[in-house]
Amino acid sequence: MMDFVNIFLSDSFWAASLRIATPLIFGVLGALLCERSGVLNLGIEGIFVVGAMTGWMAVWLGMGLWGGIVVAALSGALFGLFHGILTVIFGLSQHVSGLGITLFGTSAASFAYRTALPQVSSPPRIEPFRALDIPILSDLPFIGPVLFQQTAMTWLALFMVALVWWVMEKTALGVAIKAVGDNPDAVNAQGLSVIKLRMGSVIAGSALMALGGAFLTMSAFDAFFFGMVNGRGWICIALVIFASWQPGKALMGALLFGMFDALQVRLQTQAGAVIPGQIFLMAPYVLSIIALVIVARKADYPRALLTPWFKGQR
């Protein structure tokens, strides 16, 4: 029992929680942006893979870490554009298109990787983002390791939370995005373009998702592996409901999942002899489902989610 308390008192536990949460923060913000405009983007898992591959590959090709970030975001945006054309312009099923994007993105990333590196014994490594070392702040007890020894991408993720919140809550653009997800006809009546708003949201959201993938290959690790995204995208789809489509709550949800996972690893190590390890591996998902059930009852869905909009049709 004392061990259990000690876990929560250790700075490394909280640092790990934030580190595990970082790709989810990007992903859940991206999903939030898409869904707020009325478009479900199940391409998220594939876009994660695309972001992970292209970002890493760009760095490997010598474009620098921030160059890699830009490349990852642009490739995510490209797949978002594709999803948008299918679902927003053609009004096709968002589920089918999204799953198609996931399959396509995953395969395209694998194919590009193998084409560029046909014969390798182990994947080439890049020099990834290193933990920040800020004078004074990084040396503070507890707060230092938890917040100020993270990598720049974790800070970028936190900045994105603030940015998305500001856009959604404080700007006319945010009002328009939310309105287009609730009542596109009203937005159209205001003389705004439903298509442009939705396309923009899906493209920007997909770019954010790709950054989640890029974090895995450029910060959490230093090489690209097939299958390393390992379902992180799908978790974001659940987390965005948990977050009731609010950026602040999205951050909380991602952190909560990160905590569960960091806890799982530690408990499995400590108590694996008493309780089968699979129980702990399952725990973050079960706890997330429970949290989801409790929160989602009151969830305020974007009214026009999954509903395509065609000009001149009611």
Partner: protein, 329 residues
């Protein structure tokens, strides 16, 4: 744009592969036609060993080698049949996810030799099995770890708790305990073969709990060891070049003995269903241990060499234990 171009190339390559498969049966050559089917990319540690041995055989001119990687278990039977229909004489792969189904396919192609990584026994007339039986070098690397630990805590991060993994972990633990009875093990499984960020997190958690030696069954563990400046023990492949000053010792797997025996059997028509597991044993050169003498004291290196000699001569047998290992209390 980059991706668009690749996509187009993807289609062209797809057509080309389909054409190659279709005509594979027609091209006549003395070299034996060997195909491999892998469920993961050829970079993966385990698979890379098979891939290297087959490439070596192809370079010698003994075989004509083709392979498919990243084949889903659900698609595996189809690829097996496609290669068998295409006239491949020997098909190598791994059937841990489709043991029964793969044996059924082999029955349909009695003229094709199958050599598959499997947890179970050989089957019929043409279905042989192998596995990475490197419990002996794992025991030896355990001796290095047990001697090196100062905190007497060793962390182990594994993929899945399946016999192939458990057996090596137990042998490693036995080896460490043989020189250091006080050593305590922390064990963790990822339930994934390929999630380096998660493997890293597990390793960090173990180091927080006092581990000063990490058994690196998965990619990611040694990376964590480098970041925290602790030492690691490698498994299956030698990664000491990637992690300088970190890998004390590695238990290596070599598929050459297995592959070459199977190729010879196919060549002289004596191939039958057999358990090729023994060809991964040290006595056959299927397993070996490397110890970094710059990081490990000479008396430990000597101890390892002595036990290695005993294993090879048959004087000492490393126990096989397939149960899932758990953390010590």
């Amino acid at each position: 744009m980059f991706l668009n171009k690749l996509t187009r190339r993807c289609m062209i390559a797809g057509v080309a592969i389909a054409a190659t498969l279709g005509t594979a049966g027609m091209a006549a050559a003395e070299a034996i036609k060997v195909a491999a089917i892998y469920t993961l990319p050829v970079e993966q540690q385990w698979i890379s060993r098979i891939h290297i041995a087959l490439n070596a055989a192809a370079a010698r001119g003994d075989i004509e080698y083709t392979f498919s990687e990243n084949v889903a278990n659900t698609d595996y039977e189809r690829v097996m049949r496609e290669y068998a229909e295409g006239g491949q004489k020997l098909i190598v792969g791994e059937v841990f996810g489709l043991e029964r189904a793969a044996r059924k396919v082999a029955k349909d192609y009695p003229d094709t030799a199958f050599l598959m990584g499997s947890s179970f026994a050989p089957d019929g007339d043409n279905f042989s099995v192998f596995d990475n039986w490197i419990h002996e070098p794992s025991y030896l690397s355990g001796i290095v770890a047990g001697s090196a630990t100062k905190s007497n805590v060793i962390g182990m991060v594994g993929g899945f708790a399946i016999p192939e993994v458990n057996r090596l972990m137990h042998a490693f633990m036995e080896g460490a305990r043989s020189v250091n009875p006080d050593v305590k093990f922390l064990v963790n499984f990822l339930d994934s073969w390929y999630d380096p960020p998660k493997a890293k997190e597990s390793a960090f958690a173990m180091m927080d709990a006092g581990a000063d030696i990490m058994y690196a069954e998965r990619f990611g563990v040694s990376d964590a060891a480098v970041e925290r400046g602790v030492k690691a023990i490698g498994n299956v492949i030698d990664t000491s070049g990637d992690y300088p000053n970190t890998i004390l010792s590695s238990a290596l797997w070599h598929m050459e003995a297995t592959i070459d025996t199977a190729i010879a059997a196919v060549a002289n028509g004596s191939y039958k269903a057999d358990d090729y597991g023994q060809y991964s044993f040290m006595a056959h050169g299927g397993g070996s241990v490397v110890v970094d003498s710059a990081l490990v004291p000479a008396d430990v290196v000597a101890k390892v060499a002595a036990v290695e000699a005993d294993i090879k001569s048959g004087k000492f047998t490393v126990a096989v234990n397939d149960d899932a290992p758990v953390s010590d209390k």
